[in-house]
């Protein structure tokens, strides 16, 4: 784990916030959420956990962090979570899968695509679980 990974994920997520037109005063918060998510992912993968579980937990943390920030700043939760999950998107795997499709190596392509699909599902499930937590702890009038 090194500091350059964290710094880069912070900058990348904040830059994504800018692309999604997140309000100026909340850009740094976006970057922070993304950095935490990426940190958790790297930590768990380093620890030897499967990347699907690591992605799930990271997405969960991103979503819970977004919920907390959304309550604190009285903004929609998506402001933070949308860019926060971007580092977890399995772009590399999808790319590798595509590369094997092009050379008609469908055996490998399907394997990689299935893995990419599972990772996307893990992101979705992470968001779902945090949503459940949010509904369980919902106070009246907060959105």
């Amino acid at each position: 784990m090194d500091i350059k990974q964290l710094a880069m994920s912070f900058i990348a997520t904040a830059a994504f916030g800018l692309i999604f037109n997140v309000p100026k005063n909340l850009l740094a918060h976006c970057g922070f959420v993304g950095m935490i998510g990426w940190f958790i992912y790297l930590l768990l993968v380093d620890y030897g956990l499967d990347s699907v579980f690591a992605t799930f937990f990271a997405a969960f943390v991103v979503a819970v962090g977004s919920q907390l920030l959304a309550r604190a700043y009285k903004t929609p939760m998506t402001v933070f979570s949308v860019s926060g999950i971007i580092p977890l998107v399995p772009g590399g795997l999808a790319y590798e899968a595509m590369r094997h499709v092009v050379v008609n190596d469908y055996n490998m392509a399907i394997q990689l695509a299935a893995k990419a699909f599972m990772l996307s599902g893990a992101i979705a499930m992470g968001l779902v679980f945090s949503e459940v937590i949010n509904q369980l702890t919902k106070t009246k009038g907060s959105r």
């Binding site: 994920s9 929609p76 998506t78 772009g91 590399g92 092009v102 979705a124 968001l127 949503e131």
Partner: protein, 245 residues
């Protein structure tokens, strides 16, 4: 100002939110809350990603708004959200709320395009490092990513088919990456391409699809999921064309 109905305010708020890329359940929720705050507790709103149907019990027929174009502007969603909060707290009158929303509708609160391009430029480079690429590949990825993102914007303005614009953007990013490596600027084409297509990832659609599905909006959730899938497919095709060449 002439007669403004509660439904006008609700529809305007809903329209701005939906056009700015809010989740459909949030749009429905906001419209019903605004109506309730103005003394109309029994209202029904049915929102899909492409249109809004809104009716208030005992106050005339249902009304329909068609949404043709959607973008991602979380700033506007936040602003409408705070206006709706003020309405709920009774801080705004009907006319004031309508005036504020009308002003917001025509205002451009998005960041200038050049900033967004710089953001795509920077993000592409960061992803190369995050996916453990070499530092020498960062700058080429920046250029490929920035160019791809700009391509998305300009092609989408020219051709209204979003999926073609995404296909072309990924293609452009790939061509740039390959060309840069050919002239000796950067070494690992794979890492550069992966980094440079990251700004095209439909993060907004993925999140909203999941959140809408969880809120029980199956139609909206599935259609957004399909849109996200098609976008991913368009990007993949753009890259596949490069790889096949």
């Amino acid at each position: 100002m002439e007669d403004i109905h509660v439904a006008d305010v609700c529809l305007l708020a809903g329209k701005i939110m939906l056009q700015s890329g809010a989740e459909t359940y949030r749009v429905e929720d906001t419209m019903v809350r605004i109506a309730a705050a103005f003394g109309m507790p029994h209202s029904h709103s049915y929102v899909t990603p492409t249109g809004i149907i809104f009716a208030i019990d005992g106050a005339g027929p249902a009304r329909l708004i068609r949404i043709a174009e959607r973008s991602t502007d979380l700033q506007k969603v936040t602003l409408v959200n705070s206006i709706s909060r003020q309405i709920s707290n009774g801080e705004l009158s009907l006319a004031e709320a309508y005036a504020q929303l009308k002003q917001l509708e025509n205002k451009n609160v998005a960041y200038p395009l050049i900033w967004q391009m710089i953001a795509a430029f920077v993000a592409s480079g960061c992803f190369v490092v995050m996916f453990s690429g070499a530092w020498s590949d960062v700058l080429p990825a920046c250029f490929a990513g920035g160019l791809g993102f700009s391509g998305l914007y300009y092609v989408h303005r020219l051709i209204k088919t979003k999926f073609f614009a995404e296909f072309f953007a990924a293609f452009l990013a790939g061509v740039t990456a390959v060309a840069l490596v050919k002239i000796g600027f950067g070494s690992n084409v794979d890492k550069i391409i992966i980094g440079s297509v990251m700004p095209l990832v439909p993060g907004m659609l993925i999140t909203n699809a999941v959140r809408d599905l969880m809120a029980g909006h199956l139609v909206a959730g599935l259609s957004k999921g399909a849109e996200a899938f098609l976008t991913a497919f368009a990007i993949g095709t753009g890259i596949a064309v490069i790889l096949a060449m």
